[in-house]
């Protein structure tokens, strides 16, 4: 469809929230809790925080929850009955106020979950999710979306992209059919746009490296163990980077509840030493340097080659969340500049 550009304001958006609520939709939006801002269910625009550069966690929970039930089972006298999830019963969700980088991340997730064998629960959640992005008016030193083809006002992945135009006014780009449906019945809330260029309202994010060089540079560096040891010396091997990442999709499958219980899927991280540990005690990636290498290779070499999409959108969350300041942008620069 052709993109429509309209204009709206806070008051109209507040009414839109009420409309979505009336339609039974769950609204996930950045919300302040303590000194952290994260996506949480909200009921009104007033609860939404839009001043931050980024939330701590990504909105991937909407389509890839921290813990989800794949199915439940009950066993009796050697017989087992499986009760499947109803994909139609996943919550209809509007994610409001996510940044363009986060919106772009859904295609990376979809690439993993629909690769070859489609994942019905993920696909159902994605189909039931509408994305209302808000352009970035500010960025920080951890942001590098433009180095990966995104931008503070990029529309990719958003169904509607709002850009704050000052004084409570927003430019609204209706990007997709889903976006058009989202505002259906709210025509009055969206006025014809004044011919305004959104660029002037956007943050400036400099391109930090040549993304086409990263994949080949990583491949050339793979066997350079000294490089990886040096790069990862500080890394303590927690999963904070993976868990706040909007595209990290590694997971574990766990049974709980005994013979009549549930099979659950939960997040996992390639940074953990036990991630690849065989029961025999053999570990294909026994060192943290190998696990850090895996993290970068997966996102910047393997995914582009196997799934034709980068596994990173440059949101900078991993760098902000890292307890020991592993700043991924720095590491990517080092990769781009390394001479193997």
């Amino acid at each position: 469809m052709e993109m429509e550009i309209r204009s709206t304001d806070r008051e109209a958006l507040a009414k839109l929230f009420a409309q979505w609520r009336a339609e039974g939709k769950r609204i996930l939006a950045p919300k302040k809790s303590g000194d952290k801002i994260d996506f949480a269910p909200v009921t009104s625009l007033d609860e939404v925080s839009l001043d931050q550069v980024q939330t701590v966690q990504s909105p991937k929970t909407a389509v890839f929850p921290r813990v989800e039930e794949l199915f439940s089972f009950s066993s009796m006298d050697g017989r087992v009955e499986i009760r499947e999830r109803d994909p139609a019963a996943v919550p209809r969700t509007v994610i409001f106020g996510l940044r363009p980088c986060d919106a772009a991340a859904f295609s990376s997730l979809a690439a993993i979950f629909t690769w070859d064998y489609p994942d019905s629960l993920f696909s159902a959640r994605l189909a039931a999710t509408a994305v209302v992005g808000v352009s970035c008016s500010r960025a920080d030193e951890f942001c590098f979306c433009t180095s990966l083809g995104g931008g503070p006002g990029a529309t990719t992945g958003s169904d509607i992209l709002l850009t704050a135009a000052g004084g409570g006014a927003y430019l609204a780009e209706i990007v997709s059919e889903k976006g058009r449906q989202l505002v259906a019945g709210a025509g009055g809330l969206f006025q014809p746009a004044m011919a305004k260029n959104k660029e002037s309202f956007l943050a400036k994010v400099d391109v930090a490296f040549d993304r086409d060089k990263i994949g080949p540079a990583l491949a050339a560096l793979f066997e350079d163990t000294a490089f990886w040891a040096e790069q990862s010396l500080r890394c303590l091997g927690c999963g904070a980077c993976a868990y706040v990442c909007p595209t990290c999709a590694c997971f574990d499958i766990q049974d709980e509840g005994g013979v009549s219980g549930k099979r659950l899927r939960c997040w996992d991280s390639c940074g953990f030493g036990l991630f690849t540990l065989h029961t025999s005690g053999h570990n294909p990636r026994p060192l943290q340097s190998q696990r850090w290498r895996q993290r970068l290779m997966h996102k910047f070499a393997y995914m582009p080659e196997r799934q034709q999409v980068l596994g990173c959108v440059g949101c900078g969350r991993c760098s902000r969340a890292c307890p020991v300041d592993m700043n991924i942008l720095e590491h990517l620069r080092a990769v781009a500049e390394a001479k193997p």
């Binding site: 929850p65 921290r66 813990v67 989800e68 039930e69 549930k262 659950l264």
Partner: protein, 144 residues
């Protein structure tokens, strides 16, 4: 609430309290039937995680009991256990978990009557506190 029958799990040591409970039975003393006894070699072996597992699996109250000080079959297992109980109780309380749901005691092999009193008193205590909904509600919470 009057017909609430609490589920109580008792973690007891083999040498004193289990024998004491046995004596209660052989002495034909009656006591509250809501208790399920789990026997351990020693109170020193009763990891605090087992207590959490009991709550997670629906216990409304817990009894932990072993040999009196200086009577441990392994000489000091009960002293070590006591330290852990002290710290564990403090932590539970700080987390807002009612420590009245966990009753610690020393019951020797000769104290059949004390075992009956202990179970009855604990059952009454838990009956008053009611089902441990606050904990049982955690099961399944946070799964989408």
């Amino acid at each position: 609430m009057s017909d609430f029958q609490p589920k109580i799990v008792a973690f007891v040591c083999n040498w004193c309290t289990y024998a004491g409970a046995d004596l209660t039975g052989t002495s034909r003393m009656k006591y509250s039937p809501q208790v399920s006894i789990i026997r351990f070699p020693c109170t020193g072996r009763i990891d605090f995680m087992l207590l959490l597992k009991a709550f997670a699996n629906g216990a409304d109250g817990i009894i932990v009991s072993g040999c009196h000080p200086n009577d441990c079959h392994y000489s000091s297992g009960n002293f070590h256990a006591r330290r852990r109980w002290i710290v564990f109780r403090g932590l539970l309380d700080f987390l807002g978990i009612d420590v009245r749901r966990v009753q610690f005691s020393w019951v020797s092999a000769a104290e059949g009557a004390k075992w009956a009193q202990l179970v009855n008193a604990t059952a009454e205590q838990i009956r008053q506190l009611g089902p441990f909904r606050g904990y049982q509600r955690l099961r399944g919470a946070g799964v989408e």
